[in-house]
Amino acid sequence: MVKVSPAKASPVTVSPARKALRGSTAVVGVGLSRFGDLGGRSHMEIMGEAVYHALADAGLGIHDVDGIFASNFVDQLTPLVVAEYFGIKPDFMDGSNLGGSVFVNSLLSASLALSHGLCNVALICYGSNSRSGGFTVPAHGRTIESVYQPRYPIQAYALAAARHMYQYGTTAEQLAEVAVAARQWAMLNPAAEYREPLTVAEVLAARRVVDPFGVRDCCLVSDGGGAMIMVRAERAGDFPNQPVYMLGVSSRTTHNVISEMPDLTVTAAAQSAPEAFAMAGVTPADIDVVELYDAFTINTVLFLEDMGFCRKGEGGAFVSGGNIAPGGSLPVNTNGGGLSCVHPGMYGMFLMIEAVQQLRGECGARQIAGAELAACNGNGGYLSSQVTAVFGTAATL
């Protein structure tokens, strides 16, 4: 069996203001678009499909929404585009962009706006037609690094993987185990895009893209959208579905470009996760289900270590032997993740929706029985932004 060492608990002080937000808001609606190739549809149309389902899920109409939290890699003025598209005039708008982690960050800004009464119904939403319309990454123009022709985004993650392999002896086989575990979860999810069986040998034999990564170490490029509706906790019981409460959230950064990352083997999740767990009043051992931003196989290894599910350097062993796959000791990326379910360029939205659905007990064959606490870690840029969130059922308040 896999050797699992308990991570060292580091004492974290959470500010009273942050602590006061624990349990102050809840998710009362989630919605997903279809995934895959939705050719002929714009990113807004795909987002609209998800928003429609989220509103129906919450039993609300679009004119009940008075807070918009929206980002993508296409529009510069996203909240304005979204408000206009739906014909609403919100009281609060946030169009921050941190890359794919930003929707988990929106959990924090939406909770702040809701708890201060600046809005009453917050809509966090995203849509993308990256598959059919062409993959868009944030424009950073030419920099002094452009001459080296780094192939982004994979370049940054490949460099991190190479360093982790050098420093800790992590192997290509162990990274392949991450992709295989994600596929096994996807095979239990009818909505996932890749559902054919996958072996470690197939991952290792896949076409090389940027060494040490082959194509099966890399996420999908999908069309897809997601949306989430949040309200203050005091109203959370007034909606058709079991509310899922925000218990903890923390957002940290270490760098923007990969050459500036202080240590390629340690992400800002080493700061955001302890703070989010401390805010929630839980430890990694309490978590029933974990959703991690697995744009590349190394991500899962790094985040499991940085969040304290195993010790630094032991992530490769931790993910091996089916330990994070169905039937393993820790359920990770239960929808199939960005590696096998969906990845339209900004995956953070999908982490939270899967966490909410798991805590509601709606996940069918992939449901974690009795799940009460879920942790998500969103990643943005080039391992640059890390945002950790903890969600819980009413029993965890």
């Binding site: 690094e145 460099l159 050098y166 050459s259 390629l264």
Partner: protein, 136 residues
């Protein structure tokens, strides 16, 4: 903070860096207040916030911190190396190790910087330094 006044006039640090490269020189900034080296070029020191710096020529000595091979079709030029190099002065930069197959570049390898060209553009490139034949 320094008693010197910062000079924000004229071309910015990135343009000055590029202009030096075009002249065949590899120059980086050194903060006049805290003494740390600054890279990539900035108007304010990312260590202490000072805006007073000098341009210095680094020794060129560095170590490969991480390395990768970008796979590219032979007809488009073939595979190439993209590495991160930690300079002796402290900063880390993206670079390309030349003079060997891209997949032979190893983390920990000692390299030296040269101003060369990539696809006709001036660039700092690196060559492995053989033991006993160090250039510095």
């Amino acid at each position: 903070m320094s008693s010197n006044s910062p000079d924000f006039s004229g071309p910015g640090p990135v343009q000055m860096y590029q202009d030096a490269l075009t002249r065949g020189q590899f120059l980086i900034q050194q903060c006049k207040d805290c003494g740390n080296h600054i890279f990539y070029p900035r108007v304010m020191c990312n260590h202490c916030g000072s805006a007073v710096f000098r341009w210095v020529e680094p020794t060129g000595k560095g170590e490969v911190y991480s390395t990768s091979v970008v796979r590219r079709k032979a007809e488009k030029g073939g595979d190439y190396n993209v590495a991160l190099i930690t300079l002796e002065e402290g900063p880390r930069m993206m670079g390309r190790v030349l003079g060997m197959a891209p997949d032979k570049v190893r983390i920990g390898m000692v390299v030296s910087a040269h101003v060369g060209e990539i696809d006709g553009e001036p660039a700092v490139v690196f060559y492995a330094v053989e033991q006993g034949n160090r250039e510095w």
